[in-house]
């Protein structure tokens, strides 16, 4: 055993069960979306996701096995490695759909940006936890903000605004539990409101501005992004209370809902399994989040607690945003649903993150 018997007794099995269950539900949904009605078999994306699962579980075990303090102590190294990978991607990465996001490794591709959250969580937990800093001074906040800005900028340049945006909640989560004063929070809010016209004008590409406009009035672009939003609503709304049944969905399988395996996988779930399916999965996601926050509460030190909060904040943000979007209630953004969307790197990074959370809880009594 890599993990000592004494430690494994403190493993949070309910959390593991919920995470694995969500992953399996995600797999089943991808199975249904990719179903090939001519040859009666699931499509290649399903199998790619199946192969990613053991890799993800291995990553989870690996992140569980090594003491998290060992990792936080080396977090600057990990963070630096990540920055290098992101720079490498910017220049040599594989291009798909106009974006340069991947590193090709033989037959596989790796998306480093998916691991940025973990690296950032580790380095921020170390910075605010280890040194007993309390994120109360401008200087302390500025250092954290800089740590956030590096990878966020590199990912934004790929371009991948969605994934870059998921780094922000990691930072916000950590500084909040690290004792951010209320007036800073209020100041940040005011700043965002004041800066939004500037961001609108200079920070967003025209297509991104269009997406927001389209969200506010989908009929302006019924064939493009507005189409996705309308069809997402149709997909979810047509599910009803009990859903159309497994493999019986029409919106995802017949291609009326674009990117149904990625960003809109939850729409298909809502279509096939109805409101009851939504109820069950939302309960599972909420359980995972609450259980993780409990791990933070039980953590034996600030580093552990901050690490858990950093990881689960990013997760929480992504889950809520993606599910809102999947019902056509938020602007369409290239943002995956953790554990469920198609994408090997996302699955592996998410499972690795839960490995760290389990790690913190498991080691709550060790010195």
């Amino acid at each position: 055993m890599i993990v000592e018997r004494r430690l494994s007794a403190h493993l949070d099995w309910p959390l593991i069960a919920a995470v694995v269950l969500l992953t399996l539900i995600g797999l089943a949904t991808i199975y249904s979306v990719t179903w090939d009605f001519r040859n009666d078999q699931p499509g290649p994306r399903f199998w790619a996701q199946v192969y990613a699962l053991p890799v993800g579980l291995a990553a989870l075990v690996a992140c569980l096995a090594i003491d998290y303090r060992t990792l936080t102590q080396r977090s600057l190294l990990i963070y630096g490695g990540l920055l290098l990978a992101l720079v490498y991607v910017l220049y040599f990465g594989a291009v798909r759909g106009g974006a340069r996001r991947w590193i090709a490794l033989g037959g596989w591709t790796l998306q480093p940006s998916e691991f940025a959250r973990l690296a950032l969580a580790l380095v921020l937990a170390m910075f605010y936890g280890e040194s007993r800093r309390r994120a109360r001074s401008a200087g302390e906040l500025a250092v954290g903000a800089l740590l956030l800005a590096g990878p966020a900028y590199l990912i934004y340049k790929q371009p991948d605004l969605g994934t870059a945006a998921t780094l922000a909640p990691v930072f916000v989560g950590v500084i909040y539990v690290a004792g951010l004063r209320f007036r800073w929070l209020a100041a940040a809010l005011v700043l965002v409101v004041l800066a939004s016209p500037v961001i609108w004008r200079y920070g967003l590409a025209p297509y991104q501005r269009e997406r927001v406009v389209t969200f506010l009035d989908p009929s302006k672009d019924p064939r493009g992004a507005g189409h996705q939003q309308i069809q997402a609503k149709v997909t979810v709304g047509s599910g009803g209370l009990f859903g159309k049944g497994f493999l019986r969905g029409t919106q995802g399988s017949y291609g009326f809902l674009p990117v149904a395996t990625n960003d809109f996988v939850y729409s298909v779930l809502a279509e096939e399994h109805g409101f009851l399916g939504v109820l069950v999965t939302l309960a599972l996601f909420l359980f995972v989040i609450v259980r993780s926050l409990e791990a933070a509460k039980l953590a034996k030190d600030r580093v552990g607690a901050f690490l858990v909060v950093a990881i689960i904040s990013g997760f929480f943000f992504q889950v809520v945003y993606n599910i809102t979007m999947s019902a056509g209630l938020a602007p369409v953004k290239g943002l995956t649903l953790p554990l469920m969307s198609y994408g090997g790197s996302s699955l592996v990074a998410t499972l690795a993150g839960f490995g760290l959370i389990l790690n913190v809880r498991m080691r709550r009594f060790t010195n």
Binding site: G240, F275, I289
Partner: protein, 632 residues
């Protein structure tokens, strides 16, 4: 152990974690409510939108029912028409396909390119119809190269096909249902784009002839490709009709009529029942042009044609009956007791009534004639005299009994009324009373008298059968669903006029003399051994004075129309009818048409071989110069 500062830290951390937890629960509660609203409250709306996305109904047109003649010979059927289509998805090189297809079928490359350009937005897997109604040669040529051009697919479409090139105005034609028709109750259940009968039998019996279209319910994906078939309702063929027509007589009528070169109409009916054995209106159109969707140029051409080939003269054309109206006068005079068969009049080439001189067509006069001779020689003076004793309303009454007032009720759409004036009519339309002097010209079928050829046919049929006004009709039997023929209910007679036998005999004798007598006006109808009886008539197109004035100033044909009414044999009539020749000048010039049909009728009855159409006599020159009606 934790230091006091750490305790403080920990308490602050616990509070903040609790806040995060509450935030998470709140966010998920909001999500849950949103999904409830979308999925449960608004479910019906979104379900309809989703169904609309992926369910398609593809109609499978049902073939219309076949139409047979009275001997079960097929007159109208359905044929597969071929459409050469291109499936772009399967082309290796569109350019190569276009070139090859053009070479193989002889269709211009640019024409093919135009069609593809028009369909460029269609999904690539949907066949583009490149050549509609392709010729057999094109189909064979394309099929021979099917391994070279797998992207070219020949589709078959059931299309109405009218055989033998006859009966156009009887069958009518089919076309897409019009906006003005779709809401009418007789087209209930017919959807836009459906093919329905637009004229003739096709229209009159459209409900029987139309089958029930089938449909395929299919699932399509977002690009419109068919994924799955959910259900199939096969089309049900339309009901079959048997007409009262006799193909042999119809053929004889049309062949002879075309040979004569006249425009006009002709009808042969069974006087006892009103069954139409043969009927035509010429010039005609080719209903097959309509079956494949008439092209606008052809349609414009048909509408522009001064000969009006789309007009069914048989039931829509109204003309003065001319001397054929003397039959009505004779029966009216006899029945009213104003004359007997032996009443004589001395014709001196004309006579004066109400201070006006009326001419007979024979300037030298017919001398002393009785009723029979008056009919034989068509003596105007005899009937002028009769008219001077008859009231217009009495004439109107007998005309009605003989089928010359109003429609005949034939089962063909668009029939016009025949018309004979009455004093009530004159008062109503002009506010003037009828003047007895006006009755004089009515006696010879001029003035306010106009009849359709089919109306005149019911008149002669009534004389033939002894007074029963039958309703002409073309439907004999119906087989609605392939289970067997059921005789159609023959329309009941409209009225019965009691004509005393000796009166009837006198009129028939007069008509017999007109054909068989030495001075008869319809001698050209004579058939050896058959007691054919008949009467000619001339409908003035323009008055004599008018004609002189118009001389050389108009290109319009101002020659008179010619009528022939007839039945045979005299004493046991089995066939009666009318032939109307537009600008034929004299009724007797259309006699060869009638004779050929009657020859055919008798030959058939006696089991003899059917007669061949005799060569046209050199003296017959009808029709407009430079036109060849019916040339096809």
């Amino acid at each position: 152990m934790l230091s006091p500062g750490a305790w403080e830290d920990r308490r602050s951390l616990q509070t903040r974690l609790l806040v995060l937890r509450i935030a998470a629960v709140a966010a998920f509660a909001v999500l849950l409510v949103s999904f409830w609203l979308l999925q449960v409250v608004q479910n019906a709306r979104y379900e309809a939108l989703a169904d609309n996305n992926y369910l398609r109904t593809i109609p499978l047109p049902a073939p219309r029912g076949l139409v047979f003649d009275r001997d079960h010979r097929v007159l109208v059927e359905n044929r597969d028409s071929f459409t050469v289509t291109l499936v772009r998805e399967q082309t290796a090189s569109l350019e190569r396909t276009i070139q090859l297809l053009s070479r193989v079928t002889g269709v211009d490359e640019s024409a093919i390119r135009d069609v593809i350009q028009r369909h460029r937005r269609d999904p690539v897997f949907r066949p583009i119809p490149i050549i509609e109604h392709a010729t057999l040669a094109q189909v064979v040529a394309v099929r021979a190269r099917r391994y070279e051009m797998p992207e070219i697919v020949v589709q078959t479409v059931p299309t109405r096909h009218y055989l033998h090139g006859i009966g156009a105005h009887l069958y009518g034609y089919v076309g897409e249902i019009q906006d003005s028709q779709i809401d009418r109750p007789d087209y209930a259940g017919v959807e836009a784009g459906a093919i329905v009968g637009q004229t003739g039998v096709e229209k009159a019996y459209n409900a029987s002839l139309m089958g029930d279209d089938g449909r395929r319910n299919v699932v399509v994906n977002s690009v419109g490709r068919e994924i799955q078939e959910l259900g199939l309702v096969p089309p049900v063929d339309g009901g079959r009709l048997q007409l009262t027509l006799d193909y042999d007589l119809q053929r004889a009528l049309e062949d002879a009529f075309r040979q004569s070169g006249f425009a006009g109409a002709g009808i042969f009916i069974s006087p006892a029942t009103g069954e139409i054995l043969a009927a035509t209106s010429l010039p005609a159109f080719d209903p097959n042009d309509f079956a494949v969707g008439i092209n606008p140029a052809r349609w414009a051409e048909l509408n522009r044609d001064p000969q009006k080939p789309l007009e069914n003269r048989l039931i829509r054309g109204r003309y003065s009956p001319g001397s054929t109206f003397k039959i009505v006068m004779a029966i009216a005079g006899l029945s009213e007791g104003l004359v007997t068969p032996d009443t004589t009049v001395n014709c001196q080439g004309g006579a004066t009534f109400y201070n006006r001189f009326y001419q007979c067509h024979k300037r030298t006069g017919h001398g002393v004639v009785d009723l029979r001779r008056a009919i034989e020689q068509s003596c105007n003076v005899y009937f002028y005299t009769l008219a001077s004793k008859l009231s217009i309303d009495a004439i109107h009454k007998y005309a009605r009994w003989l089928g010359l007032v109003g429609p005949t009720g034939v089962d063909l759409p668009g029939e016009n009324d025949s018309f004979v004036a009455s004093s009530e009519w004159k008062l109503r339309t002009t506010g003037q009373p009828w003047y007895p002097g006006e009755t004089i010209s009515v006696a010879i079928g001029q003035g306010p008298v106009s009849v359709t050829p089919i109306g005149l046919a019911t008149m002669i049929a009534t004389v033939a059968n002894g007074g029963t006004l039958v309703t002409p009709h073309v439907l004999r039997a119906v087989d609605e669903d392939g289970t067997g023929w059921r005789m159609a209910d023959a329309p009941s007679p409209r009225s019965a006029l009691l004509i005393r036998p000796e009166h009837l005999q006198a009129v028939r004798d007069g008509l017999w003399l007109a054909v068989n007598g030495s001075a008869g006006t319809a001698q050209r109808l004579r058939i050896q051994g058959k007691d054919v009886v008949g009467k000619t008539g001339t409908a003035q197109v323009i008055s004599l004075e008018g004609r002189r004035a118009a001389e050389g100033r108009t290109a319009r044909d101002l020659r008179d129309h010619g009528w022939l009414v007839f039945f045979a044999p005299r004493d046991n009539p089995q066939i009666a009818g009318v032939v109307f020749g537009e600008h034929a000048e004299h009724g007797y010039l259309t006699a060869p048409i009638v004779r050929h049909v009657l020859d055919t009728f008798f030959a058939k009855q006696e089991g003899r071989p059917l007669p061949a159409l005799p060569a046209p006599p050199a003296s017959v020159q009808g029709g407009l110069p430079g036109t060849a009606p019916g040339a096809r």
